[in-house]
Symmetry: C2
Subunit: 418 residues, 2 copies
Amino acid sequence: MIAHILSTGDEVLLGDIVDTNSAFLCSALKEMGIDVQKIVAVGDDVNDIASVIGDSSLTADICLVTGGLGPTRDDLTAFAGGKAADDRLELSQDALASMRSYFKKRGFVLTKDNEKQAMLPSSSNMLINYNGTAPGFYMKINRCLFFFMPGVPSEMKIMFEKEVKKILVNEFSLTDDILIERLTVFGLTESKVGSLLKGFETKFSELRLGFRATFPVIEVKIILIDSREDKDISDIARAKQWVIQQLENKVISDRGLTIAQEVGRLLTKLKKTLAIAESCTGGLISNMVTDVAGSSNYFLFSGITYSNDAKINILNVRKETIVEYGAVHDQTALEMAEGVRRKAGADFAISTTGVAGPGGGTEEKPVGMVCIGLAGSELSMAKTYRFSFDDRVKNKKIFATTGLELLRRHLVLLDKTP
Amino acid sequence: MIAHILSTGDEVLLGDIVDTNSAFLCSALKEMGIDVQKIVAVGDDVNDIASVIGDSSLTADICLVTGGLGPTRDDLTAFAGGKAADDRLELSQDALASMRSYFKKRGFVLTKDNEKQAMLPSSSNMLINYNGTAPGFYMKINRCLFFFMPGVPSEMKIMFEKEVKKILVNEFSLTDDILIERLTVFGLTESKVGSLLKGFETKFSELRLGFRATFPVIEVKIILIDSREDKDISDIARAKQWVIQQLENKVISDRGLTIAQEVGRLLTKLKKTLAIAESCTGGLISNMVTDVAGSSNYFLFSGITYSNDAKINILNVRKETIVEYGAVHDQTALEMAEGVRRKAGADFAISTTGVAGPGGGTEEKPVGMVCIGLAGSELSMAKTYRFSFDDRVKNKKIFATTGLELLRRHLVLLDKTP
């Protein structure tokens, strides 16, 4: 099956926004077993839109169109769809009723301006917009089934999930009964993950592999399509084990959690609390930890001690330690972790002190060097790492993830201890 | 002039990555006065790539192609370019020399595998890759000038800036002498900014307007193209004043700085230091502040006090305050700011305490409510805000920006006081 995606709207072509809709749709189609052959983006121009629709109507089986369904005069997609199909627009009673119900729920009244959004090609069927005013629609033009959806990501996504998927499954005898296993990987480059998993496709021909890199972690997806038929579901379990084995100890979650979610899950399970002392990561670890809903159950306190005075006065790092070894040193990291743990009365504490750059590096302590401390009731350690990025924000990210990973490994051991 | 962009590579069509290259190129071309008519993305398939190149060669004046120049067998763009141009590939001595020099600098030796990357269409000219191994190239096919660049963003961007731009300027008598004014806006939606700036194009017909929204701020760009000709440069100054006037007091930087950069600039100028006490923002403010290089000159300490004990024991919030008013209250925010300021010995302190959600809201203190404190040597205040987002991460972002904005406004006043 040949699938195309058409993204409309001047904002994409002006570079004002990045087209994340198309990536979402590619990923969603892939999970249904449909490969996308081409993505096209054009501006709010009827002729440009109609011309691309015309091309796809002759060469593709399905085409997902986003954008241009709003109430303003820039919103021309329905008109362009009608033009390409040689079909006139008419007021869709279904669309009107759907809009009325949406407006009513929010206590608004439908205006004449809004009614324009209910003018759809006469041969089309309406798609409900659960999250906004503009209804979508779908229609066959030549050999291709077109789905027209809004450009606002939150509206488009729910329309795809609730409406489009169902129709695709029926029309093309697909399944939406998909099993996906997600693994979170840290400590390998994308190309290294790719080469370690080489041979997956031949080994597990019923399965598909997907990747999504968000520095410094990579999500690996193992996808089993059509699990309703009597394909062997144990396959995906075997594949998961194989992937984990190939990636050795770099899998930080075998259920697709972020490092902070996984640390939170383990702390909750073990009924332990956490404190954090950050220097070079400047609050990033705390921010990652508190992005997790429910983190107030285990996270107590962080001290972001940029100045040496704060390290000494608030975390009780010994002045002599700073004088003798400097702020960036294992001994300082150790005392920071111990200090913040005592201060907060927490079970565990991690700490960071290093050089994020771009300035501040020396030959002995270059940009990219970080000392990470870990303290618990029966544990006190620090370790130095060196990364090779010049970029301050990248360094903060990899330092923070490394700190949480050190804690995670300890919690995993603890969890396994009888 | 008609410009197309062609993005090649399976990873985009599989949804594994979002195509940020095209947004960068659209924005860069717009700043040169060139509008992009169409973006196309296809996978690593010679026929698909050659077919799109063929289409653009007949309908566009320029086409920027990214991806597929690497050493592996997936990298087929040069071959597809040759196919579309009916041209054979040959070993480019320029490309080989450029690669040799790149490898030598890094102490590597060129392998046979790498040599494949120097095989370019015979009628093409090489483009230097300053940041990687694969050289780019440009060539005319039919009416269209094609530029082939690598897909790795850091390699593509520098090739565009250093090589492609120069050639475009020469070939099409353009200018790269562009004046851009950037304004950072906070407290307005994108559509509100759009409607407040309605009429800009007719008022300042020589200028262009661009937007880039990164929640919760919006960057407004005012672009003057071709300032070499005797266009009135004072126009852009007038336009900037007009835009600032239209947006009233929502412009947080008139030079495109982030809120944290602007606060840092003002603190540096006023020779003042900063401490922060965060509850619901959980380290995000500190992280934003420390993302700014050089922030160690004014930022001293943050206490991320999630637990009430930490607020009381570390920041010296009075126990009675928490008992009487609760953790989310102006009085608590006030004492947090005062407490952390004293603790760190800082000139200024800000604090946040609120409900980021998704849980924890009550009728009296709903999700989206935040109390922000601000303390200085002659200043102590707190203010409550209510936002309507359910999303934890969005709430943290808007709370944090609001906190920094409260401080910024005070610093601006201080800066103006004789």
